[in-house]
Amino acid sequence: MKGSGEFEGSVWATTAAAEAGRSVLAANALDEGGLQAVLAEALAAGADWGDLFYEAWQGETVAVDDGRVRSCSRSARQGVGVRVIAGERQGFAHTDALRPEPMRSAAAAARAIADGRSAQAHPPLAVAGGRGPTSALPTPPVPSLYAADVDPLALPLDQKVRALAQLDARCRAADPRVQQVMAQVSASLQTVLIVRSDGALAWDVRPLVRLDCTVIARGADGKLARGSARDGGRRGLEPMLEPAALDALAAEAVRQALVNLDGKPVPAGVFDVVLGPGWPAVLLHEAIGHGLEGDFNRKGTSAFAGRLGQRVASPLCTVVDDGTLALDRGALQIDDEGTPGECTTLIENGVLVGYMQDRLNASLMGMRPTGNGRRESYQHLVLPRMRNTYMRAGVDDPKEIVRGLKRGIYAVDFGGGQVDITSGKFVFEMTEAYLVEDGRITAPLQGATLIGDGPSALERVVAVGNDLGFTKGQGVCGKDGQSVPVGVGQPTLRINGMTVGGSQV
């Protein structure tokens, strides 16, 4: 695998990140040089590429349910994953024992993939020595995308406990129909060091916080309904736990639960649908996002394979995957292979112009890595993954878009979604939606699943609003059994002809 030429020598996300990380290493009697030696051992049989991923992760979760703040859990993990690439083959091994012997054993296991190809000409690749840490660190190549100097774990636990108790009380006080409140605050800090066979070293320290609130309400008929609200991102917790912020979160969750109490059964069939701004962009993530990840296109298993340069969406649609949205859940200063974060255009005015790439798939496709190489932890292989996938704003007035709907559905909040990359079929699940008749919202609807065809869904976008919005700190993407945090965004948009999984014929 050829280097892209983007990296010459050492790369540092920020000097602060490197310093923080180095102190974590030192606590384990390790340093960068020792990890480079482990990588060198992995590459002893020759390889096209190799990297070592060191990770130290800490997280804390506190939850309230049944009116008690009672679930408090703090976790820590650390370990090293060693990867060797020879052609299209990857050898991988990881260990949580940060001692020389287990790490060497992991390196040997990863190397076996190249050993098996010893007849082929892959000259041994020496890890560049002497380019490791020096007293003069290079200038950080990217500005910090995360809240500076934030250790989200530093906030005292009693403040979180108090905030959750307040949130619970506010929800219950808001309406007598509120039966149950479940809220959770979680915070984590991930420190990573990437040691690469081209001599580059990259550190990143990534904070991530999230506050979720779910309310269950009971109607006069005894039926239950749910409402939820959340906040979060790569920043500190304090602003989210301010009284005004808690008020707003509680009000939103209760409002949605009460709307859903009145939800009417959903009509089944084909409808024109208006999607609200923000989280409804889970549509983009499923309908086109996964299908534009490099691995599926290299293997020809995506419904979008071989369609670069072709029209795949209405000319109203420009879609990007962006790792540079400051403080966003999907922000990545560098990806898990050390490639700097960037904003990658996927669809421009309806035409497919780019895929999301990690190094392996980029190299095999003759393209450049786009900063999408991600892994759940040191225990997982790198895959091309999304960061924050969003549609750029259009020119339409969102109110006019709804008013233009003769008979259809206006969906403003969603649960999750899923896609079959190969057939292109995708689903996503409405959690707050309304029936629209003659341009007027006439009734709230219960939840239902929508199904569509990814490659043609965006062709049927007939209006794009001027109100681009982003999800507030939610989004977990699963692929190959690996979960990573992502964001999404979009303006209000109208798609004609979606199939709605209602229960009323």
Binding site: D66, D96, G481
Partner: protein, 476 residues
Amino acid sequence: MSTHASPAHVAAPVPIRTGDVAASGIGVPLSLLEDLLDRARAAGADDADVIAVAEASSEVRVRRGDIESSSRSEANEVGLRVFVGDRSAIVSSNDLRTSTLQRLCEHAVAAARLVDPDPESRIARNDELAEAPPPLPLFDDAVLAIASSQLVEWARRAEQAAQDTDARIVNTEGCEASAGSSMVRYLTLGGVLRERRSTSTAVVAVPIAKDDAGMEVDYWYGSARRLSDLPTPEAIGRRAAERALRRLGGRMLSTRQVPVVFEAPVASALIADFISALSGERIARKSSYLEGRLGSAVAHSSLTLVDDPLTPYGPGARSFDGEGFAARRHTLVQDGVLVGLLTHLRSAARLGVAHGRNATRGVSSAPGVGPSQIHVANGHTSLQALLREVGTCLLVTATMGHGSDLVRGQYSQGASGLWVEGGAIQYPVHELTVAGDLDALMKAIVGRADDLDPSRGISSPSLLVEGLVVAGAGTP
């Protein structure tokens, strides 16, 4: 959010590992658990328990005959729960150095002092744990002996068999084979020790079929705790290929109300959803449509559901639950009537119902509840005969989405399958939704085939459900 591209990984069992590791008895030593509990007590804990999980596995992925990845994995992790009076907190770590563990103990005790009291939460007393877990074999030395070259061969054979099935199998997402083992140790401050060793091996095939109309992917897998129970790679590859091939040329349906037959794997997912609604935790927190329904009909009178943790080498078998209780069978639904809930100590106390011994426990969270192994009994007729009997119906072979809304009790899923008329399969259909009231749906399960797959944890034969609404963009 999720992707369906490699369902293989979702379906495969936890990749636990072989081992040289497990075999040689490495893992988290008992003395470390004892030390951790001593430290917790010294830090001020009134009660505590600790769980340690050691896993090791090898996994190989082959694509188009060549190795795509070869991974070796080993992990050791401990989780400690401490109580200070009625208050508790959890800490977990895979860094097992003494200094780290000491810090964790102090943190856990400090955290427990800050949260609310929760009087129903507690660790089982020694007298409650006096019953020893039954002997239950889950470990096979033959799985430990599987070499990675063997895994490569299996994955290659599965892929080859898929390709040999039909010329329209033109590509694959790859085939995987894995083998692993795990060891779980649970120890209470009262001195009760539970240990479980298990092995698992699996082969997964994900072929892609293509014709003029488009591409379709599907998958199949075999998994077993015992090597001799694993189906041949050829059988797995062929089954996966047949599943992808039968999707080719899918048509749309128009929206209609029809009988639906859920093919066994889809029926199993439906039953798993329903079982989630029987969680005592969920019901105690008033977030299940089945709250207050104990003793009443919740499913068709032909349906009986028993949680059975005691099958030797069973995929969901466990000799003790997540709170250390000796496992035993627990009936949830008898002839359609809800007679039991999935409960652990806390939920049983909150609800004032019988304790079901259904606790689950991960290293980083408090005990929850969950089923072990639940198999819906076979009917007396083949799937073909069932379809003949129904005449006109939708046979759902795959669903998409995250399952049912268990709060409201609503079922709504994306679906694809086969259209049946005159009792025979006519053509594949896709881009559909299937929806209905979950309570009504469970009561409308009027038929069962005889095709239960006993190698799955939650497993059902194909089920016939009357009166669901199918939506699609086809013209009537």
